[in-house]
Amino acid sequence: MANSLSDEELMSQVRSGVGEMLGVLFERYHVPLFNFFLKLTGDRAMSEDLVQDVFFRILKYRHSYRTDTAFRAWMYQIARNARLDHLRKRRPETSWEPEMSPAVAPVDTAQQGQEAVLLHHALMRISEDKREVLVLSRFQDLKYEEIAQLLGCEVGTVKTRVHRALQELRQVFHQLQSGKPFSGKGPQGAWPTPGSIQ
């Protein structure tokens, strides 16, 4: 029954105190949110903490949800804020190579697998604002208008940023492909070979 309700109807119920409806929203969005954070940070544990924080905030700020606004946009707004707060509290120079090497979906050929690994590394190394628009538009399937609203900028700016992100991704991807160390703006610090951390 609850499964046929729209996000907005569910959230309205949560707002009026029917907490269990949040369970349905959790079912719908915890995996996308986890992937949003994971693709931004490369850190599984932190991403899980942040997802938990988002649902905590949804409950805490349920009264500020306006029933005429799209739930998804509101949720991603909360997700961004949760992450920004987290970044603010973060210690200096904690930029680790994600401990787990990127999981790669089963693919047909070894070459494709290799490409996915490189692409993952390239994505993690482009600048964060660009990575964010790529993640939002490509993986979270948000429309540019929704992203613009989320970031508080013009739609045109979002499109430009998507294009720049792809340009930068292409550059980094090439550098990684040719085996050169990347010297751009991405996460700083050592990038040890797999296994050197532990």
Partner: protein, 272 residues
Amino acid sequence: MNCEQIGELLPDYLQGRLSPALAGEVEKHLPGCPACGEEAALWKNLALLPEEQPSPALESRFKAMLDSYQEGRWEKANLAAEKSKTPAPLWGLGNWRQIPAAALVWACLFLVCGFLIGRQSDRGPTAELKQQLADMQGELAATRQTVALTMLQQQSTASQRLAGVSWTTRLPEPDAKVMSQLFHTLSFDSSVDVRLAALDALSHYAGRPEIRSGLVNALESQQSPLVQVALIDLLVDLHDKSAVPQFRKFQQDPKINPTVKKRVDWGIQQLQ
């Protein structure tokens, strides 16, 4: 159209939101232009990156939070405390029924409560009753200690040992045996996660001088850079100036990981 014009259209093209005529223009351009062509291909290939699944712990944490909200504890309890809850207490709570030793302790607890409620309903609390209550609490605490030790020492999987570590945080006054086992776990557990959890558990007792000096010394035997950083951070948080000599010694270690080196430099700076 030149690359600049195509670049403006590309984002809409990639989301399939161009008119057929403009999409056709983009498609005409792509094969002949390596730069634009590769950008479009990268967009497509991002689909190769898999959708990842979070661990089951996320769901149990969410359920625990929702349960506490449903039970109305939220309105009373302070929200900040709920939020800062780490997953630690939930490892045990979420699956306590599956851990026989934990179930035993819960059973004892329920028994004591049931017994006391029964007694209470007969007559008011007496000195004898209070004594019995104290005895039972003492026994319960001892049982918990044993459970914690058993879980730490004998469990084969990392998640079971994690549950063991989280048990220790529920002991009101863990004894020296538990503490020394926690230090052993911190230095030698095969899983970095379990080591970090042990550090977190020990940090609750960092007020005790012997624990504090144990933490300072633990830096030397620690092999995992992540745990090294966590240790440095904890000692900095504790403003423990006695850690500085150990930090300096550690700084000189030729095998030190470069990131950890930066952190220890920072730590020394903070403590001075």
